[in-house]
Assembly symmetry: C2
Homo-oligomer: 456 residues x 2
């Protein structure tokens, strides 16, 4: 693939003997993979599933850039008000492509309060002067409670400080092109809007305006994101239904095999680069919410920051149960930062081996050590290398995962595009809040005293 190299050979019997997948196993799962490919393509061709088309949407790029350019000059921060895919997607782009600790080049700062935590929101409002802060309200349905709550607070806060006109210049709603409360409200108030295509769900929306607008405000190369995604998409479509040729289909089919046949329901995504951690966190939603629908089989995705988690989780990964597959993410190129060889630290015998080496050599050595150590214990480790952490490579990475989720859904026998299991908790929360129409749910929450004990 352009920008990416996916190496699944660490899952194979040639790497980890009986713990891996054999050629005949591959032959055995090939027919189901072919069916899964066909089903995913049919969803696209019918128009039910639109994320496949996003890489071609040059208009969305232009619109996002134009909207970003209209922000008042004094605005230096954009706060994304959203939760789930509405926040995880742009957050992954920001973390991947902008250095941490406030060091950055062109572009504005992005903040992601994400949750509905009053401590977080209060700190946000206190630290962001209203005249210098814009807000992007993102909810496809318009009905997301957390996002509505954030908007209620922020709209008042802005109007009080910069007036109706000032607030209008600082608010942009990203939502369904036609339906929902946020679309209606934006129309009433004259807020700028950008669309989430009706056939693109939240966890597949990062390459729509949901991700593109914040990324444009941050000064990122958003056309490059789509370029990278388009290259991978075209590779995937051209490769067709042969899992030995199609990287997204192979990733989906082999992770499904690990779960269904090898007793490994956990998928640990291990970014060996801080910049890629939030891509792994975004993957948690994509994989968990798309595929977590059957009580007899579903994968549990885990994001594990490396090399940091070598000092936290590697003990478990190495000596614990063989219930996990591992997917290492890393860039092939890293910035230069040398460890000096002539100072007092390097003069200590304990530390001399690091002298005059690049720091990137150390983290890459740790990656190799961990992969080899897990492999020696017959644990399956795949690697996914980005040529570098760039907009095209990140766009390619995210698209590869989305396509894999689209293929994994039929393999698991579930619809990867819905999330019926979260509705009940939402309704119960409405009941707890006393929302009209949810009286039955409020009743269910009535505290039932339990036989004593186990409370401390």
């Amino acid at each position: 693939m352009k920008h990416l190299t996916l190496d699944l050979s660490g899952f194979s019997a040639s790497a980890i003997a009986g713990a891996g997948i054999s050629d005949s196993d591959l032959d055995g799962i090939a027919p189901r993979a072919r069916d899964a490919f066909a089903e995913a393509m049919a969803c696209w061709k019918r128009g039910d599933v639109g994320f496949w088309d996003l890489p071609d949407d040059h208009g969305a790029v232009a619109d996002a850039k134009a909207a970003a350019a209209r922000l008042p000059a004094e605005v230096d921060t954009l706060v994304v008000l959203g939760i789930g895919g509405s926040s995880l997607g742009p957050h992954a782009l920001w973390s991947a492509l902008v250095p941490p600790f406030g060091e950055r080049g062109a572009g504005r700062r992005l903040l992601f309060p994400d949750n509905s935590d009053p401590a977080t929101m209060a700190a946000l409002l206190a630290s962001c002067p209203p005249e210098r802060t814009a807000y992007n309200v993102v909810t496809k349905s318009g009905g997301t409670a957390e996002t509505a709550a954030q908007l209620l607070i922020v709209e008042r806060h802005l109007v009080a400080a910069v007036g109706e006109e000032g607030a209008r210049a600082r608010l942009l709603a990203t939502t369904d092109p036609e339906r929902g409360g946020l679309r209606a409200l934006a129309g009433e108030r004259g807020w700028a809007t950008l669309p989430v295509p009706a056939n693109v769900g939240g966890r597949f929306s990062v390459l729509s305006a949901v991700g593109l607008y914040p990324a444009a405000v941050a000064g990122l190369d958003i056309a490059g994101l789509l370029d990278g995604a388009r290259a991978v998409r075209d590779d995937i479509v051209a490769a067709g239904d042969d899992l030995r040729k199609n990287p997204a289909l192979a990733l989906a089919a082999l992770l499904h095999w690990q779960n269904a046949e090898a007793g490994r329901p956990l998928v640990v995504v291990m970014p060996y680069a801080d910049a890629l951690y939030d891509c792994a966190d975004w993957f948690r939603q994509l994989w968990g919410e798309s595929l977590g629908k059957r009580s007899d089989i579903a994968p549990t995705p885990i994001a594990s920051r490396m090399a940091t988690d070598q000092h936290s989780q590697l003990q478990l990964y190495t000596e614990g149960p063989d219930d996990k597959s591992y997917l290492v993410l890393a860039p092939a190129k890293r910035p230069a930062l040398v460890m000096p060889g002539d100072g007092p630290v390097a003069a200590r015998p304990e530390y001399g081996y690091l002298a005059n080496r690049q720091l990137g050599e150390l983290i890459d050595a740790e990656l190799r050590g961990t992969v080899a150590s897990l492999g020696a214990r017959q644990r399956p480790v795949a690697t996914l290398l980005l040529d570098e952490v760039s907009s095209p490579a990140v766009g390619a990475l995210l698209f590869l995962f989305e396509a894999a989720a689209a293929f994994a859904g039929p393999l698991y026998g579930v619809n990867p595009y819905d999330q019926p299991g979260v509705e009940e908790a939402k309704r119960l929360a409405f009941g707890a809040l006393g929302r009209p129409g949810f009286e039955a749910e409020a009743e269910k929450l009535a505290v039932r005293p339990r036989p004593g004990g186990l409370i401390f």
Copy 2:
């Protein structure tokens, strides 16, 4: 308990019928719990395991405060150079007790680069002016490669900018009181030092100088941390070996039962407060590295940010396999932040139910909805409430978990204080770097060509 309320009744048969633990099950595991209590206490009394004594170490509080007071007045940032427990512990304290987004009161800013990522370190050095930045190098053994690498780079960076004397005023080493390369180096260079007691391992060190010094620099109430921990410790010790009376023993025994008897190896810690997320991340190390030692049985800890993950993982938690126990963390009190009732947002019928409510009511309603939804599907959910997010309550929380890990070790039949499984990966990484003495490991890393296929 003072500051904390642990409610494990959601694990019981009275809450979730056959999926929960019955009174006779509790009777059945009580003898092993008694033995585990005795073994943990014996390790303490023999002097092998010292974390139990840390809450009494008033001298450590005074030393941390004194060291913080000696920092040059122009220093506004302390960077913690460490990885694993050396970083996770102080990071948990910082996130819990200091508002996000740079809003804070007295005290200096803390930064945690943690990893050995050159992109992160380069951004850190670029954004932290040397004269205004101090560094706390934390490694008990002194030999941690990532921390040594950070120190090599930082020492040179500081000396070049502020000279030998200026660097000495800005560097403090937290390490073994007598042994290791960092202790020797600090002696040679005249750096200030603070001790990690020899019988306190990294993941049990947060209430030693490892956590206390950064917290003191941040202006936190470090005596309060120990007060809260001491109260819980005294409760635990006084409760003795009866799991129906001892909260840490009950937590350990019931989580072990979930894993060993109920087929639930995953422990999902769900903080319903952003401030507590890094306490959950710290718990991942504590639980994973202490207990992840047997291929037939070990828990996999997961940190799940709530309510955010309701839009990411709840689908899986609700409809996926019944292989998880859930532990909700939340504060009983939250800051006030009202959602206005008279603006244009509240006037939309979709959003009116939020009007004039506290944002904290929303997140608490979501907590209740999720707990009820999981309970209705016979999924085991415990809750651990802090009276508020304060130093004493956070100290109590972290100590409770440490005590639970000490009890869980013998229940799992493992030593909770070592981490033998990570040694091989370390040695292989040294081999990859060409460190003298690791030639055999370098040999093992030689690339063996694998039969083609599965590389894209």
